[in-house]
């Protein structure tokens, strides 16, 4: 029995990690700028499509016709040579194989740029406007982003293969001294969890141990006073928005092998992430992370056959059900502070 529970716990981790990463970004934006960002799921989706774009770029081919060879149909053979191999030689093949993790390199600058442009271009004008209008404008931006992606990449999911070395499963049970093959877990999911742990740890360390992070935290607590001290808090908050976009984008990139991205993947995650943020408590970073993992794991337990036999349909609604209960019992969420968003 303990192994079944442990397995479900593990299964919830990767989804929980994705929720936690998105919710972390949402909370950063809310905590710093005070903006309810419905476009955050779209940033996740854009990150995922950075991976798609990178792979499409890597697999560009030159097609030359070789008249000396004949194809099975008797026509001159077309020789396809990936451009990458022409540039990097054998390294090219490795690069294509590792395209998903490698695309992190382009994702970071792209998402930073998108985030900063978004904040300077539109969201800046909405600090003082009511939350309803913030929701509406970011909702519109999300529609625009996802339709642009649909126009360029088509409506169908685009599968991204994971690196060949990282396919298969890890025998976690054996590591922990259990018999072999009792608890196996796909390697990529494990990597996703570790990756998100590193990112989350990085964000917290950045906020906790750097001067920049200290100023940002001070700004979150009392923006006006920090401004009066002669610190350009707006520029730092803009960078925090960029950082939140990068976190969402990275979450999207690494998730592509687990779920082929399509243009509305962001919306699917956004609704859940909002629930996560609210459950964790608006504006609380540890709350967002904890609630993300909590809900991911609960969802994983709810999709067990035994549980579904007990309460039919529970796997479909568990997250929303938890959200409703927590909101009604603990209005500020799990870790929420007093006085945040209690309109």
């Amino acid at each position: 029995m303990i192994d079944v529970i442990f397995l479900q716990f593990l299964n919830g981790l990767d989804k929980g990690a994705a929720y936690a990463l998105i919710a972390l970004g949402l909370t950063l934006v809310f905590g710093t700028l005070g903006v309810v960002n419905f476009a955050h799921g779209a940033l996740f989706m854009l990150g995922a499509f950075c991976a798609v774009l990178f792979r499409q770029f890597l697999t560009l081919e030159t097609v030359t016709v070789d008249p000396s060879q004949l194809s099975p149909w008797g026509t001159p053979l077309e020789v396809r040579a990936p451009l990458v191999q022409a540039w990097f030689g054998d390294w090219g093949a490795v690069l294509v194989n590792y395209s998903v993790p490698a695309s992190i390199i382009i994702t970071i600058p792209i998402m930073l740029l998108i985030g900063i442009a978004l904040e300077r271009g539109i969201i800046k004008h909405f600090y003082k406007r009511p939350h309803a209008e913030q929701i509406l404008v970011t909702f519109g931006l999300a529609i625009v982003a996802q339709e642009l992606i649909k126009a360029f990449f088509g409506p169908n999911p685009i599968p991204q293969p994971m690196p060949t070395d990282l396919r298969g499963a890890a025998d976690i049970g054996a590591w922990l001294g259990m018999p072999a093959n009792v608890i196996t877990y796909p390697i990529w999911r494990l990597i996703y969890f570790l990756f998100s742990a590193v990112i989350i740890g990085g964000v917290f360390a950045f906020l906790q141990f750097t001067t920049f992070g200290m100023v940002v935290r001070a700004g979150m607590a009392d923006r006006e006073t920090v401004g009066l001290l002669g610190i350009n808090i707006d520029r730092r908050f803009t960078i925090m928005f960029g950082l939140a976009a990068v976190v969402a984008g990275l979450a999207g990139v690494m998730y592509t092998p687990l779920l082929p991205p399509n243009y509305h993947i962001g919306m699917d995650f956004l609704v859940l992430s909002f629930v996560v943020v609210v459950v964790g408590g608006m504006g609380s970073l540890p709350g967002a992370v904890a609630a993300g993992f909590l809900l991911g794991i609960l969802q994983s337990f709810a999709s067990m056959t035994q549980v579904k036999a007990l309460i039919p349909g529970i796997d479909q609604i568990i997250i929303y059900l938890v959200a409703v209960v927590i909101l009604l019992v603990l209005p500020r969420g799990l870790f929420g502070r007093r006085g945040v968003m209690e309109a």
Partner: protein, 382 residues
């Protein structure tokens, strides 16, 4: 109607005439066919109802599509179990969606602001997910709920009216296809508008507006605001159910996708686009969105080529390449852009634009002939 002020009466009459004459004045726009007109009416009702909640009380519900979907299912079940007549179906749908709204509203209204939005969203998503999975015996899952020849229809059977052939909803034996269906829906829209107008002008409506501008102060003055918001929520849920039922009357097939949160988002867009808090704004927003959805999604590449024919060859195809991203399948891109622009520059929606333009022409006095000005509202969402 001695109780109505002259201004209200004029607005109501103007609205009625505009709606009833739609098959005529929409002719030049190529929109005067029954199918589209029916949708104009249905989504008009949906938006008017949504506005009673969002426009008057400021509570932004992101789950109104659930009531719309429940109304559709209830109407189709009434067609299946009771009678093919539209009247019992309407009544049944309104009662069911009202009860549903009462339950959800009772819980959701314990919180306000974004928490309220998330609660309604959570309930709507729960309904949607359940409709697709365990509630399949009631909703027929992905296939959607349809009428069949073997439906019992107890009321029809009781009065010895066995419909032969394909079961189609009727009104007292009259078919509701084509323009008959439009006038049926139009009647409901006018009624819905009338009720909304009366609510807005009533002390109850004033109370709701008071809740919007400062709920705390309302509480301090001794009002218990909860019953008022709950009443607004239920009324607006019933409107949504009515709209859903009308959609089932014109096309007796109910599917769960009507309850998805994108559908809830659509009615929010309609209301904002037209102008939340105004009476005619949401209706205009609904009409515009449905109209452009229809026109834009029908445009294909060939039409664009013909349209840009006058340009030189290379430029011509460049224009086509750019614009075709915005039409046909890409219509939602246009919608999203327009929506962002509206929220950024004209948060009061089209009605605010009308008011501003009218303000340019008559600086000194308010022109009573412009419908948008007959209903002066506080700025939306504040």
């Amino acid at each position: 109607m001695g109780v109505m002020s002259r201004k209200d009466l004029l607005l109501f009459l103007g609205f009625t005439v505009t709606v009833l004459a739609m098959p005529i004045w929409l002719q030049p726009f190529g929109a005067a066919y029954p199918d589209l007109l029916q949708r104009f009416m249905i989504f008009g009702i949906f938006a008017v109802g949504f506005n009673i909640l969002f426009g008057l009380t400021g509570y932004l519900s992101f789950g109104h599509a659930a009531f719309f979907g429940v109304g559709s299912y209830a109407a189709v079940w009434s067609f299946k179990l009771l009678s093919l007549d539209a009247i019992p179906a309407m009544l049944f749908a309104i009662v069911v969606s009202g009860a549903f709204a009462l339950a959800i509203g009772y819980v959701s209204l314990r919180r306000s602001g974004i928490y309220f939005s998330i609660l309604t969203l959570a309930f709507a998503q729960m309904s949607y997910n359940l409709a697709y999975s365990v509630l399949t015996p009631i909703t027929n899952g992905e296939t959607g709920l349809q009428l069949t020849l073997s439906d019992p229809r107890h009321l029809d059977a009781a009065i010895g009216q066995a419909a032969g052939g394909q079961p189609i909803p009727t009104l007292l034996g009259q078919s509701l296809g084509g323009f008959a269906g439009f006038y049926f829906c139009a009647g409901f829209l006018i009624l819905a508008f009338f009720i909304a107008q009366r609510i807005t002008g009533s002390p109850f409506g004033m109370m709701l507006k008071g809740i919007k501008s400062n709920q705390t102060r309302m509480n301090y003055t001794g009002f218990n605001t909860k019953p008022y918001t709950l009443a607004a929520f239920v009324i607006s849920g019933m409107y949504a159910g009515l709209a859903g039922a009308l959609l089932a009357v014109t096309d007796p097939l109910a599917g769960a996708e009507r309850m998805q949160w994108t559908a809830s988002g659509e009615v929010v867009l309609m209301t904002i686009l037209g102008g939340a808090g105004t009476l005619v704004g949401p209706v205009i927003g609904a009409w515009l969105i449905k109209y452009f959805e229809n026109i834009f999604s029908a445009i294909n590449e060939g039409m664009l080529h013909r349209f840009f024919d006058f340009l030189p060859d290379g430029v011509d195809s460049a224009f086509v390449a750019v614009t075709r991203k915005f039409v046909g399948e890409g219509w939602f891109l246009t919608l999203g852009l327009v929506f962002v622009l509206i929220v950024v520059f004209l948060p009061g929606g089209i009605m605010e634009g009308v008011r501003r333009i009218a303000g340019l022409f008559s600086r000194s006095r308010r022109a009573p002939t412009v419908p948008g000005q007959a209903v002066r509202q506080p700025q939306p969402a504040e």
